[in-house]
């Protein structure tokens, strides 16, 4: 049974519909991503799931609980990490963990969590003295200290450097391995592709697709592109004659061959037969970003 069910969610702000009939269901143990450009309605959607906003339509259930009516119970089973929220400047890491763990009926061992999130050396450090990555890790630790079944992580890696971002991704996978279902809001394609089991793509408040990252890409386009610089002039007809090839174009000194199936093998075989060497050979496959463009009909602006 799904642990989070969102059905026909509608949210308006002053006559402007921000979320327009979004539905999805998250299975236990999944990392479920909500992907979309800024202002697409991702945060509003998860804030309704978190019980922080009152929906104007539709139903939401988290572990069978209606976030609007049984907020107290929801808080025990859902841990949240919010965009743009802070702790008091002079609160120390250890104090924050101790404080937040006192709020829950069955808290996790906070020292254990601090260890997992590599903050043990920072227990006596005040919040204002933490780096961006450390603040994010503390924020994850606080979201998990109540031993939640569901963790909602909103734009977790925004503002982190690439190394800290990759570390955070590893952490999220660890958290999932502890049995926590994760609802992840992101506008990073790479993050969605790397982490999520399934993705809801939201654009202008509407759900435009719901699938695994690979499924989304496959759904859009199975074409591949090969680029290379031929060592000797080559008649295009040799390539276009291949059943795998759909098009051949010249781009400067390079050839761009588009096609499907086992395109690479077919092309390299023909080249070898004609004693042409392919320099700077690159294969391009449809990315999630291409999929997004195809799904929404406009470029992805992060």
């Amino acid at each position: 049974m799904a642990i989070i069910e969102v059905d026909g969610l509608v949210k308006r702000y002053g006559g402007h519909t921000v979320v327009d009939g979004v539905s999805f269901a998250v299975e236990p143990g999944e990392i479920f991503g909500i992907l979309g450009p800024n202002g697409a309605g991702k945060t509003t959607t998860v804030e309704c799931v978190e019980g922080l906003r009152t929906p104007d339509g539709g139903t939401i259930r988290v572990g069978g609980i209606d976030p609007q009516h049984d907020t107290g119970e929801l808080r025990q089973l859902l841990g949240a990490q919010l965009q743009e929220s802070e702790l008091p400047d002079k609160l120390r890491v250890g104090e924050a963990m101790e404080l937040f763990s006192s709020f829950y009926r069955g808290p996790a061992d906070w020292r254990d969590l601090v260890d997992t999130l590599r903050l043990t050396g920072k227990l006596d450090t005040q919040f204002r003295r933490l780096s961006g990555g450390q603040k994010q890790r503390l924020s994850i630790a606080l979201a998990l200290v109540g031993n939640p079944k569901v963790a909602v992580l909103d734009e977790l890696t925004t503002g982190l450097d690439p190394q800290a971002r990759r570390d955070t991704w590893d952490l999220i996978e660890d958290v999932r391995d502890r049995g926590v279902t994760i609802l992840l809001v992101t506008h990073f394609m790479e993050e969605a592709e790397r982490l999520c089991d399934r993705l809801a793509v939201i654009d202008s408040g509407r759900l435009v697709a719901l699938d695994s990252p690979a499924g989304l890409v496959a759904r859009v386009d199975e074409r591949q592109r090969i680029r290379f610089r031929p060592s000797a002039p080559l008649d295009h007809a040799v390539l276009t004659a291949l059943p795998e090839v759909t098009a051949v174009e010249r781009a400067g000194s390079q050839l761009v061959v588009t096609g499907t199936g086992n395109l690479l093998l077919a092309v390299t075989t023909v080249l070898a037969r004609n004693q042409v060497v392919a320099a700077d050979l690159r294969i391009e496959q449809t990315s999630l970003e291409d999929a997004f463009v195809a799904l929404t009909g406009r470029p992805f602006e992060a």
Binding site: R75, S85, L91, S102
Partner: protein, 246 residues
């Protein structure tokens, strides 16, 4: 430890990490009393004050002023800053209820301001021989009502101010008339009738008179108790009405 006591302990620790706020809330009132007591004429009995000395009148005024400092300087700013920085928003995703968050702040403010009151009374008694309250239950009643009224006003400021800085500014603007009518510059006994009537209707004017009455061994006047209750209900009600998490 329960969530409420853990919150209160944590808030108290954070309070003691702000030297300026600690100074004004805890140390300034006793220092001010010592300064007043150092003025020789303040220690002379005055016939126009019914044989009391000016310093006798200033002990309840300083006690009341310390409540105003607490409510308008630390409590309101702290809360408004928490909202501005998203601390309240963060708390909202946990099982902590708003009432508990407020409760912890009020508990801390009450404990610390009672401490200040005790220090001010002790300094008055030991350094300047000011009589301790004769009617202790009445004194505590007056004190608690004055504290509630001031904390309610402090929370109202926190609810209305958009930022921590503006809460500080509004608090300061309110602080001066409130302590003026409490008698910080002219003790109530030296005010003219118009000023004293206005003072009767302000939270700390009523508060100071109640403390003074209890010190002399009388129960506070019904008017003053009613005034403090009214401020608590109205300001507290508005604070609850306009309270925002973010």
């Amino acid at each position: 430890m329960s969530a409420l006591s853990r919150l209160t302990v944590t808030e108290t620790r954070l309070f003691f990490r702000e030297p300026m706020i600690v100074f004004f809330a805890l140390a300034f009132p006793p220092i001010l009393l010592v300064v007043f007591g150092a003025i020789p004429s303040f220690r002379e009995p005055d016939q126009s004050l019914g044989g009391l000395r000016v310093i006798d009148l200033y002990v309840p005024i300083v006690v009341a002023m310390s409540l105003a400092l607490f409510a308008l300087n630390s409590l309101s700013q702290l809360f408004a800053t928490y909202r501005e920085k998203g601390v309240l928003r963060r708390m909202r995703t946990t099982p902590v209820r708003p009432a508990m968050m407020l409760g912890a702040q009020l508990l801390m403010s009450t404990i610390l301001s009672v401490l200040t009151m005790a220090v001010v009374l002790a300094v008055g008694r030991l350094a300047f021989d000011v009589r301790l309250p004769r009617q202790l239950p009445a004194y505590l009643l007056g004190y608690v009502l004055a504290a509630l009224a001031m904390f309610a006003i402090g929370l109202l400021v926190a609810a209305l101010a958009p930022t921590g800085k503006s809460a500080g500014a509004i608090g300061t603007v309110l602080f001066f008339p409130i302590v003026f009518f409490a008698g910080l510059w002219i003790p109530r006994d030296s005010m003219n009738d118009v000023l004293r009537t206005i003072s009767d209707l302000t939270p700390l004017g009523a508060g100071v008179q109640s403390l003074q009455d209890a010190t002399a061994g009388h129960w506070p006047q019904l008017l003053h108790l009613a005034v403090m209750l009214a401020w608590t209900v109205v300001a507290g009600g508005l604070a609850a009405r306009y309270f925002r998490w973010e």
